[in-house]
């Protein structure tokens, strides 16, 4: 298998994987970065959301061979000490129930706030509707995004 070089969370890493492997599985199984979650594998749930050059993408749909020099950021690389304003807002609003969807929610929310620092409720709803929360924490997700927006 070819060795593929990637830029993940600011570091250059190389992985030995089938070029068609989705980045999701490369992160989880080759690089042991398991904060990026598997939920559906078909772009429907958002648990696998990462940033590619700062934009939210679904890592289950992104073959590792397509990444090239683009910078990957995962939840592990969002902040050094878990103190990104969005992460802090998530704690402040005590959003999580089971917590499984939340890293994907946070990655989507962070990308939203980067492109739109003061989103309206409707914009939050539109941006966040690709991320399923089976536990139903949507109201708190919205509140956390608004809390973070004030701090960013």
């Amino acid at each position: 298998m070819p060795v593929i070089s990637l830029n993940v969370n600011g570091k250059t890493v190389s992985v030995d994987a089938d070029p068609a492997t989705p980045v999701l599985w490369v992160l989880r199984e080759h690089l042991n970065l398991v904060g990026t979650k598997y939920g559906c594998g078909v772009a429907q749930c958002g648990t696998c959301t990462i940033h590619l050059n700062g934009n939210a993408v679904r890592s289950c749909q992104l073959p590792v061979s397509a990444v090239g020099k683009n910078a990957i950021t995962t939840i592990e690389g969002l902040s050094e000490n878990g103190d990104h304003p969005v992460q802090k807002a998530w704690i402040e609003q005590d959003v999580a129930q089971c917590g499984y969807c939340q890293t994907g929610q946070i990655m989507t929310a962070t990308a939203l706030l980067k492109s739109n620092p003061n989103p309206t409720d409707a914009q939050i709803e539109a941006s966040m509707s690709g991320n399923i929360c089976r536990c139903g924490t949507y109201l708190r997700i919205k509140e956390a995004i608004k809390t973070a927006a004030k701090q960013m």
Partner: protein, 751 residues
């Protein structure tokens, strides 16, 4: 202050030991009074189920570690259960370190998350444990300082003797306290003096969650772990006939392809040893992606398995159950259910003379309600890690009741239970599905076969099409009225595949003179099991919609009508075994009425629906407010009132109720799994519609009845009544009644 016997029985123990390096460790045990309901069959519980033990560790430098005994699947017990210990121990919550207890039914008790039982069953033992440890620390301090123990006080992990001005940390006395004998009786705090419990505390795993730490079963791995997946039959009622793996064995990373049996013939299954498919076709490889790809190229021929026999273990001896082999379809399910509904059924409860009352009625209202199979769709698909060798097993995974699986693993692997090390991970949802053990047994058998550590992974498609579903249900309700529109008789006849949904002793039983409840069941090969508030989740939907129509037929306000019935049930109850407390039931209705501004002109813009329900020893009522958005009805706002006794962690409890509301609206509107010739017709979120962010209400106001009753369930009770509150609000909005879930089907038909 409440005095409490620590009532440690013969089998239970309370032990205090010295910690290496100084400090104390106290293991505690006590009897939790359990009353289980719904899907939990007491006959299937381990004999020492009620034995309950756990740990507190206090080091000499005053680090307080409290182990959470019970599995965590989003109900937040990692935080709420240790809070209970911390309260009676009287320590500063900020200084407490919480750790998940290992699976160990001797040390930690039942370790069962389900039936909204976690707080209810651990409440007293955890209070006792905290109080006992505090008591021992005080004894140690009184001996050291040579002062009467009665003169000592504690606050936030410190011991004070006011007269002498002495003070010290718990840690200073912990080693000595470890040698103090265990108190036979402890004094518990007055609820009014609580400083930790009843105060909102943040999720102790919040930071780990938002930073993506490996918390879940699917995140667990070890050096050399292989990935395994099961290629299950495409339809319920099928099994593997033959397969050809020659091509995929050449694919990179693929290690092995084989079949094995989950249970040998005649294996006595306990209640949670469900087997969906007994012949497992397994693909094992290095990575998930490699195995996923190989499965696509695996050539398999399937055949109908025909009728099979399950041997079920039980306290009254084993019994055999025939599982029909025919391939089932939703259309035939409905036809069959109609047929059964017309036949005589099993009598579940009868008060008065309902037959005569219906015969003599001036008017009879009859309505039928239907609800489909539902998939659990936990966000984390089913998985389990296993490393089984000849003499021991390590099993790590997300499970609601590891203690129920361990005896099964012990039998299947032929290993003594003490050679099986089970570790419970945080679960990415459970909703009942993770109480069942087949995934764990499958992983263990696969590891034994390939002689390597293995992680069994279900893809989302596997998870959805290889499920243990919420059954399909139907119920017909009838109400009889006299010439003055008084309700004189009530009849419910419900059935399902393969179980009926009826809770015969729930409201309005007890409130109507002539009452009849009946149930019937149709066997099936589609596996079913507990789903958030089993049976209640359908009962409430149907009954509370029907009561709305009954109130309307009587020209009464739906809340006032229910309150009248509850008054009757309290003052002059009909029949025996009424499960609910009429006062508490009425209280949540009154609270939701007040908080929602029911009947007030300021809410005119909303189409409003109300419903209430009792289950899992708690009471919940909701008012749903619908508006029109782009011409479609939209649940804009919900007001909820809940009585679950003492609320341990208020803000987290609000989160739980909001989650129930969102989940309930989602399932009421969209949840549905249909079958065609045994094949589940949805296999991923592309077709299985889940409620999305934009479909959730804008506001969910949650109110708790304030009382000092010992805490009862919360993860389930608010869920069932939301279905009916939605249905009743939709009626106001759409001017027609909604009898069939999911309601979006009928909404679409209309537009």
């Amino acid at each position: 202050m409440e005095k409490n016997k620590t009532d440690y029985n013969r089998r239970a123990f309370l032990k205090s030991t010295f910690l290496a390096g100084g400090g104390m460790m106290i293991s505690f045990s006590g009897l939790a009074k359990l009353s289980l309901e719904d899907k939990i069959n007491p006959a299937d519980l381990p004999a020492d189920w009620h034995e309950l033990t756990g740990y507190i560790k206090i080091t000499s430098d005053n680090i307080i570690k409290i182990f959470n005994p019970n599995p965590e699947f989003g109900q937040n017990v990692m935080t709420s259960l240790p809070m209970i210990v911390a309260e009676e121990l009287d320590v500063d919550w900020k200084k407490v370190v919480v750790e998940m207890g290992h699976h160990d039914n001797v040390k930690f008790g039942p370790q069962f998350a389900g039936g909204s039982n976690s707080v209810r069953m651990y409440w007293k033992p955890l209070r006792d444990a905290g109080a006992a440890a505090r008591n021992m620390l005080l004894t140690a301090a009184s001996q050291t300082w040579n002062v009467p123990v009665e003169e000592l006080t504690t606050k936030a992990g410190m011991i004070y003797h006011e007269k002498s001005g002495k003070s010290g940390t718990y840690g200073e006395f912990a080693s000595k306290a470890a040698g103090v004998s265990i108190p036979k009786e402890v004094k518990l705090k007055d609820v009014k003096n609580f400083t930790v419990v009843r105060n909102s505390q943040k999720n102790v795993e919040g930071v780990k969650i938002v930073t993506g730490k490996p918390l879940f079963g699917l995140d667990y791995t070890q050096e050399g772990t292989l990935i395994a997946m099961i290629q299950h039959p495409p339809a319920f009622g099928m099994k593997v006939k033959s397969f050809d793996a020659s091509e995929i064995l050449k694919m990179p990373g693929i290690k092995d392809v084989f079949t094995l049996k989950l249970y040998e013939d005649g294996f006595e299954q306990a209640g949670f040893d469900t087997r969906t498919f007994n012949d497992l076709l397994v693909v094992v490889g290095n990575t998930t992606w490699q195995v996923m790809n190989a499965r696509k190229k695996l050539k398999v021929s399937w055949e109908p398995k025909g009728d099979t026999k399950d041997t079920m273990a039980g306290r009254n001896g084993k019994r055999e159950v025939i599982v029909p082999g025919a391939l089932e379809s939703t259309a035939t399910h409905f036809a069959k259910m109609k047929e059964y509904a017309a036949k005589p059924a099993q009598l579940l409860r009868k008060d008065g003379d309902p037959e005569t009352a219906f015969k003599n009625a001036a008017k009879v209202l009859e309505r039928t309600y239907n609800a489909p199979f539902l998939a659990h769709n936990c966000m984390e698909p089913m998985n389990c890690f296993a490393h089984v060798t000849d003499d021991k097993a390590l099993i790590v995974g997300p499970h609601q009741a590891a203690g129920w699986i361990e005896p099964t693993l012990s039998k299947v692997l032929n290993l003594p239970a003490d050679k099986i090390d089970m570790q419970i991970t945080r679960m990415g949802g459970g909703f009942g599905l993770r109480a069942y053990g087949h995934t764990f047994v499958e992983a263990a058998l696969i590891s034994r076969k390939v002689k390597a550590p293995v992680k069994l992974v279900y893809t989302r498609e596997d998870d959805m099409t290889y499920g243990i579903y919420r059954p399909i249900y139907t119920a017909t309700y009838r109400a009889a009225f006299d010439a003055n529109k008084n309700l004189i008789a009530f009849h419910v006849k419900g059935g399902g595949i393969p179980e009926h949904p009826i809770h015969a002793n729930r409201f309005p039983a007890g409130a109507v003179d002539n009452y009849l409840a009946e149930g019937w069941e149709i066997p099936s090969n589609i596996t079913i099991g507990a789903f958030r508030a089993p049976r209640s989740n359908f009962n409430a939907a149907a009954e509370q919609s029907f009561l709305d129509e009954v109130a309307e037929a009587m020209g009464k306000d739906p809340i006032e009508f229910r309150l009248e019935l509850l008054k009757r049930a309290k003052e002059n109850p009909v029949g025996k075994n009424n499960e609910y407390d009429a006062d508490r039931y009425a209280e949540v209705l009154k609270l939701v009425k007040e908080k929602s501004g029911w009947g007030s002109a300021t809410n005119k813009q909303y189409s409003r629906g109300v419903a209430a329900y009792f289950c899992h020893n708690s009471y919940a009522a909701h008012v749903v407010d619908i508006i029109k958005k782009d011409g479609q009805p939209f649940v804009e706002r919900v007001t909820s009132a809940v009585d679950c006794g003492i609320v341990i962690n208020p803000d987290a409890a609000v989160n739980m109720v909001q989650g129930c509301v969102v989940d309930g609206i989602g399932n009421a509107l969209y949840g549905e799994l249909t079958f065609k010739e045994g094949v589940p017709e949805k296999n991923n979120f592309t077709r299985y519609r889940m409620i999305r962010h934009r479909e959730a209400p804008k506001k969910i106001d949650v109110h708790f009845v304030q009382n000092e009753i010992n805490p009862t369930g919360l993860g389930e009770p608010p869920f069932p009544p939301i279905f009916a509150a939605v249905a009743n609000a939709l009626y106001k909005s759409e001017k027609k009644r909604f009898y069939n879930q999911p309601f979006s089907n009928d909404l679409q038909k209309k537009s």
